[in-house]
Symmetry: C2
Subunit: 277 residues, 2 copies
């Protein structure tokens, strides 16, 4: 890919781009997806998944991804190595490592599989929400980390002042419901969906209604849709729902669901987050 | 450890025992924890965590574990290799691999950390349940996999006939609430808690009220208590709550919580499971 082609890429594809250099994959942090410190974790998780998805030996489609954030990632270049640890007839297990300056900064495991058509059901309830179009976007608000501008985020509930939200804040709740799509719009795929699973502000901010240091330590994504269902989603907004379950000893967890506007559960996602008071 | 000492171990500690052999750790499947095919997955996840916990370089206590079941594990010996991928002042990231006959059969990542005392809260609701003592145990029932006899499992709801359960079956529900402790009783620790996160029968059995092939592909455990809180739990029963969220294309997910009898949320756990119709 030459410079002109790279410049024509969507910012998300630029941020998660990996190019082969001597058997390893080379990546580069993107200023557009900068967080308070280092890059937005979602884009790193997505980059680790991209290393699997674009691997020539890859079998089937992503079913699960666990990304572990082992150290702060500095602005600049990094390397990614993805390895098929075991391949069966229909399923493949991957281990992935991101290194920077020769040190491991992130690890991941992923599972890809050839899906079969089976009986299906959704037991989680699709949340009620007003249409995305009627809600205020966070994208033009000042004072937020850079990466927030790479998404069109619209809060139904569970924000933190002065962010606009449709419903009044609830006391002692760590729940957030919001609409989200890439900004500028981009057709959904596994890699962008993985990143979207990390767009929630830390549950500690919401629960306590104040900001303090927090950072994801490990996140898991289970994909519940195939490539065709993601392609059918196109560039439309997704309904994203998250809550914390326990905050204790400097860590809390978050469980989340990502829904299509018609109520198709595209992904469930979980993470454990380090926080300070 | 000589033969006599090994024989005096609790069956769970025998099943998850790892002995050093030339820089690698050697383990052995246990007939007591046999599943339909191969060993009970919980005991394998626990063994992968034990490789981290007993590592001489280990820092702090387990915060997160993701175990991936890459291939069937045959009865007999296996090797485990745990490696600290990155260590900071308070947090450590681990990668673990289980091999059998030179091939990878399971992988894991784990995070350990020195926990600090912080503000705490539990947002997940503690489920109502009758006392464990008044419920019927599954442990003497015929026809169940061997590992079930290594736990005292008592169903409040969400079983499958002819298993005894306290509440009548609910149509189209994938929820299970049960009491569980090791059998014979054993003081709780991180390793046994990891295994307990996998004691639920597959959600597809419960949702459809019939059995068919199913196997966990990946499971994640977030630990929400330190060693002291687990020690305080002792040998008492734990209240375990699980449900599926989406069943699609040959896979479904499960989210679960493990509670102390007083309502302390000890662990939250998630898994993705392969199923056939």
């Amino acid at each position: 890919m030459n410079q002109d082609t790279a410049a024509a890429l969507h910012p998300f594809d630029q941020a998660t781009r990996l190019t082969e250099q001597g058997g390893r994959l080379a990546g580069q942090t993107s200023p557009a997806y900068a967080n308070m410190v280092g890059p937005f974790g979602g884009v790193i998780a997505a980059t680790l998944l991209r290393a699997v998805v674009q691997h020539p030996d890859r079998l089937g489609e992503p079913v699960a991804l666990t990304a572990n954030f082992a150290a702060p990632i500095a602005d600049g270049g990094f390397e990614v190595l993805a390895r098929a640890a075991r391949t069966s007839r229909t399923t493949q297990h991957w281990t992935v490592e991101l290194t920077q300056g020769g040190q491991v900064a992130a690890t991941a495991t992923a599972i890809t599989a050839v899906r079969r058509q089976t009986w299906e059901a959704t037991d989680r309830a699709f949340p009620q929400a007003p249409a995305m179009e009627g809600l205020r976007s966070l994208k033009k608000l000042p004072g937020l980390p850079k990466w927030v501008g790479c998404y069109d985020l619209r809060l139904v509930r569970g924000g933190i002042p002065p962010l606009p939200q449709h419903e009044p804040p609830q006391a002692d709740s760590s729940e957030t419901l919001l609409w989200v799509r890439d900004e500028p719009p981009r057709p959904l795929d596994f890699v962008s969906l993985a990143s979207i699973c990390d767009v929630f502000f830390p549950r500690s901010f919401i629960r306590r209604q104040r900001m303090a240091m927090a950072g994801t330590v490990s996140m898991t994504v289970y994909f519940h849709a195939g490539a065709a269902a993601l392609a059918a989603q196109g560039e439309r907004g997704l309904l994203a729902h998250a809550r914390g379950q326990r905050f204790h000893g400097g860590f809390f967890d978050q469980s989340a669901e990502i829904w299509s506007p018609e109520g198709l559960l595209l992904a469930t996602s979980h993470q454990v987050v380090y926080f300070k008071e």
